[in-house]
């Protein structure tokens, strides 16, 4: 099981749940499962069904998935997924 950590900026749309457990074995499947559970976050994550918004970077075990296999990156037991949105709070 992998864990997707949900950033604060999305939590009003996830009933304040800070983490989401998934048994999916690819990142794209896990994200679609997440969106299915919390449909309001779709527009924050996806430009199209298979393309991420440009203000979002996703890290698996602290590595940007752009340097891995992108949305096809495999997820394994205990993997940790961070969704990092562009923010500018000062």
């Amino acid at each position: 099981m992998a864990i997707i950590y949900i950033p604060e900026i999305l939590r009003t749309h996830t009933y304040e749940i800070p983490a989401f457990e998934t048994w999916d074995n690819t990142l794209i499947a896990a994200l679609h499962e997440l969106v299915q559970s919390f449909p309001q976050i779709h527009k924050f994550l996806f430009k199209t069904e298979s393309e991420l918004q440009e203000h979002l970077h996703i890290f698996v075990n602290q590595t940007d998935v752009q340097g891995l296999s992108g949305l096809s990156t495999e997820l394994r037991e205990n993997d940790e997924v961070d969704l990092v949105f562009a923010i500018a709070g000062g």
């Binding site: 900026i9 203000h55 940007d64 500018a88 709070g89 000062g90």
Partner: protein
């Protein structure tokens, strides 16, 4: 940074004794701080706390920008401000407090940044700090950092979360690599703030400034330090440049 390092006065040696004791920083590091100028965009919960820590640490000069007047809703996080300053220009209020902390500090203030004033302000500084709640200002700072090949510490927060990273033009991703355009969900007043969160980001950012200026320690280049105080979770994320970035791709 100035070629010749300024000598510390006897008073300054006493004030900074405890940090001079740090073996990899030492007297040389302290002199480098005294000879340095840092340009901080905004003096809110984040930038103001960075300015406060740098003033206390003995930086020689700060250039700070922040427009508008102090309002009640600023007081929960803007560490350089006090209730008796309500209604005062934010920049002036920040300068007043900074000079109380360190009367030897030189403080140059300006209100809002634009295409006309940012290049000259950045040129005066040895290092830039990006702490604005407005993407437009962050992009201005980023553009000047890249153009003038100056190090910029970028920090931001949202509620109980935040991040810090160091941008070294030609060596690391720039801000535009990470956030190519202002997200639709963002507006200047949209984000919640706990001062504990903004000062945490500020501590990492100010330390990053000191490490770069005094040339010691490990820095956050090609890394993003990200924290979430809700779950007390901290991550060191490996970040990559965007080879198609409209701001920095020509440097690579």
């Amino acid at each position: 940074m100035k070629e010749t390092r300024p000598v510390l006065t006897s008073d300054e040696e006493q004030i900074y004794f405890r940090q001079i004791q740090h073996s990899t920083f030492g007297m040389e590091g302290q002199q480098k701080l005294k000879g340095a100028c840092v340009f901080i965009c905004r003096t809110g919960g984040l930038g103001g706390s960075i300015a406060m820590m740098l003033a206390r640490a003995g930086i020689g000069k700060l250039i700070i920008s922040h427009g508008g007047s102090l309002e009640k809703e600023n007081l929960n996080r803007m560490m350089l401000t006090f209730p008796d300053q309500l209604g005062q220009e934010r920049c002036e209020a920040a300068r007043e407090t900074l000079l109380r902390i360190n009367p030897n500090l030189e403080v140059q203030i300006t209100a809002y940044l634009d295409l006309d004033n940012t290049p000259a302000l950045a040129k005066e500084a040895d290092l830039l700090v990006d702490a604005s709640p407005v993407f437009e200002e962050r992009y201005l700072m980023n553009q000047e950092a890249v153009k003038q090949k100056k190090i910029m510490i970028s920090a931001a927060m949202f509620g109980m979360e935040g991040y810090v990273s160091t941008i070294i033009p030609g060596q690391t991703p720039c801000l535009k690599c990470l956030a190519p355009s202002e997200p639709e969900y963002w507006s200047e007043r949209c984000f919640p703030v706990f001062s504990m969160s903004s000062t945490l980001a500020a501590s990492f950012a100010a330390m990053e400034v000191v490490k770069h200026l005094a040339d010691f320690g490990e820095t956050l280049q090609n890394k993003m330090l990200r924290y979430d105080l809700y779950s007390n979770r901290m991550r060191y994320l490996s970040i990559n440049r965007d080879p198609t970035c409209d701001t920095c791709s020509t440097l690579f």
